[in-house]
Amino acid sequence: MGGSQATPLLETRHLTKSFRGRKVIDDLNIRVMKGDVYGFLGRNGQGKTTAIRMMTGLVFPDAGDVLIKGISLRMDFKRAISHVGAIVETPAFHDYLTGYENLALMANLAPGVSKNRIREVLDIVGLGSRARDKVKTYSLGMKQRLGIANALLHEPELIILDEPTNGLDPQGMKEMKELILQLASEKNITFFISSHLLHEMQDLCNRIGIIQNGRLLIETEIREWSGAAGDFSLEKLYFEATRL
């Protein structure tokens, strides 16, 4: 897992954003290190999705910057975003196209992604047998997995997932969690995952940040809070932090 001295893979510096006079992100400073599975926690409406939209260049900050591998998203968007794969909110695809065709469109936009790579990522997420079906026939869980396949296509070092288990049934949640852990350990991919589901994140993440009213309350490594008996409770930490 990541050390604190190296250049962060993802860093936000004094990120601030207001909508119609209401500050939704307030001086947000986040550091995600190479190898982290970072849990970005907060209740609904606290600014998680807005922060992720700014990290991926979909929303422009009023102040501050996002750096990916030390490259400013504002100054050199193309180079910075080439290291990132992301699902922002519900994964949306062209439902009149098949899963394979959707990925083929996206593969066109990243240099060096072959047809074999499309088949490979579909197999990784377990959609190989449904690749030729139209997306409109997919369940939400399948669309989430197609979203991960899309994010994996160009072999990014960092994958950003916005509430990846939202709307999934318990089996779907378990499969998604296993997939993330498998990709983190086998492919050495760094994950930044937003969620409000504390139990799901406790087993998944090595590092967390808690956001409330657009401000980062705490950013810490989970192991720093684990006792010798391994009796750490993310829920306890979360409620302590949000009471401050």
Partner: protein, 259 residues
């Protein structure tokens, strides 16, 4: 950029819009020509031969474009924004100006296909109901068929310019509103309003409206050549293009993608 354009074209050919629009054009042509009697004082058309139908009914093509272009762009921009699929390419190393440029390039292909299909369909339906005839009627003159076909195609190419600039206007509306219904209704309301005003108390402004250019831009070049008028109209179109393109690209470059 070429790959982005390729993606937009793949989507264009995979959706039903193109084929539905083509069918609508054929139906409207059939409905108009099946009861048409040359010389009828109640009808503005004067042509007597099938080969004159495409050139003589280019006003119908303009009416189609006024509706089809907002529907196409409303889906391609505003509806993709609402459905969340617009963010897919924006999460790749793609500049926003490149994506908008690709969407406009696919609009150009859309206009070209619709125009060529309309001309082909007008020749076919016109010949079916009126016969081919011994020449093409242009401004009261009868010219040889080959010359008539050349003039028809040249007119269509020239009219594609105001259609495209109307597309830029609709693009700006789609980017600013992010709503397919507002894009379609807004574009149609503005177009209708401008048309009514230019037929009424703002009649002197009519030659400067985009509506007028969409109906008659080709005439100054082909039907009744007048190079001063052609130059003035081209200047007007260039001004419209610059203003709408500036609005559309600036708005898209600064837009927060919230869906």
């Amino acid at each position: 950029m070429m790959r982005l354009i390729g993606n937009e074209l793949r989507k264009l050919f995979r959706t039903r819009k193109l084929y539905v629009f083509a069918a609508v054009m054929v139906v409207v042509l059939v409905l108009n020509l099946s009861g048409y009697k040359p010389g009828d004082p109640m009808v503005v058309w004067t042509f007597r031969h099938g080969q004159s139908v495409p050139l003589g009914t280019l006003d119908i093509l303009a009416q189609f474009m006024i509706i089809f272009i907002p529907v196409y762009l409303g889906d391609s921009l505003a509806n993709e924004y609402r459905r969340g699929t617009l963010k897919l390419p924006l999460l790749r190393p793609v500049r926003r100006s490149e994506l908008l440029g690709a969407k406009l390039a696919s609009l150009f292909v859309f206009i070209a296909i619709m125009t060529l299909f309309y001309i082909a369909a007008a020749y076919a339906v016109g010949t079916y109901y009126l016969g081919w005839g011994d020449g093409t009627e242009v401004a009261g003159r009868l010219i040889p068929s080959a010359e008539g076909i050349r003039l028809t195609l040249a007119s269509a190419v020239l009219l594609a310019i105001p259609y495209m600039i109307y597309g830029l206007f609709v693009t700006a509306v789609a980017v600013l509103t992010g709503s397919m219904s507002v894009t379609i209704i807004g574009a149609l309301v503005v177009t209708t309003l401008v048309r009514h005003l230019s037929l009424g108390w703002l009649e002197s402004m009519a030659p400067y409206t985009l509506n007028d250019q969409m109906l008659s831009y080709h005439e100054a070049f082909i039907v009744d050549p007048d190079w001063n008028r052609a130059l003035r109209q081209t200047g007007i179109l260039a001004l419209y293009a610059a203003v709408f393109a500036l609005f559309a690209f600036r708005a898209f470059r600064k837009k927060d993608i919230l869906h």
